[in-house]
């Protein structure tokens, strides 16, 4: 059951991340997405992968995205 809830969260996060106009918020939601994904994988016994995703997906990718945002623009234009 917990699986299904987490998976639903994933979908919500994905849609929100794509939909957000504020790129910083989108990045943060992407981080949440990665973390939930890591949880799902832990649940599926893929501990190594979850570890990696937590450190890379939620860590490095976020840092890089923010660094890139700080050098470009924060908002998506229509």
């Amino acid at each position: 059951m917990i699986d299904l809830i987490l998976l639903l969260f994933l979908v919500i996060c994905a849609i929100a991340a794509v939909h957000m106009k504020d790129l910083l918020s989108a990045t943060m939601i992407l981080t949440a997405y990665s973390l939930i994904m890591a949880l799902v994988w832990t649940n599926l016994n893929a501990v190594d992968v979850a570890f990696t995703e937590a450190s890379v997906g939620a860590g490095i990718t976020t840092v890089l995205l923010i660094a890139a945002l700080s050098r470009t623009k924060r908002r998506e234009e229509d």
Binding site: D48, A67, R71
Partner: protein, 139 residues
């Protein structure tokens, strides 16, 4: 964040622990979760944390460009080099068992540890490099 004393102090205290943990993760990839890649990322992120708090220029003083560039290469060289060493001792590429280190188990253990260290070095160095290059503000 350069002028927030609390953050600066905590960062100074935390960084050695993060690094220790990173090394632990690299070394214990064989018996638990983790390995060269995850450990390398953790090591790298400790430096990234330092740079975020103290700024790029200060960070470059700790890890000069030359050092991180060299480490990039060194890691892969260790990895590929271990493979070549296996060949020199008559095995196939990356066949650790052949290394003359007593038992085949031990040899294979050392070989894997070696490549994990290689991976860790490269990953940490590349993460630092990427972050330095990405985060450097235009003047």
């Amino acid at each position: 964040m350069q002028d927030n004393i609390i953050v600066r102090t905590i960062t100074r205290i935390l960084i050695p622990f993060i690094q220790l943990y990173g090394l632990y993760v690299i070394m214990h990839g064989d018996s638990g979760p983790g390995g060269g890649f995850q450990g390398g990322v953790i090591l790298g992120s400790s430096i990234i944390l330092y740079v975020i708090v103290f700024g790029v220029d200060q960070g470059r003083k700790i890890i000069p460009e030359k050092l991180s560039d060299t480490l990039n290469s060194i890691g892969v060289l260790i990895y590929a080099g271990i493979g070549l060493i296996c060949m020199i001792f008559g095995g196939k590429y990356l066949e650790y068992n052949i290394l003359p280190l007593g038992s085949a188990h031990f040899a294979s253990h050392i070989g894997m540890l070696g490549i994990e260290i290689g991976v860790g070095i490269t990953v940490a160095a590349v993460m630092i490099t990427i972050f330095f290059e990405t985060a450097r503000q235009e003047r």
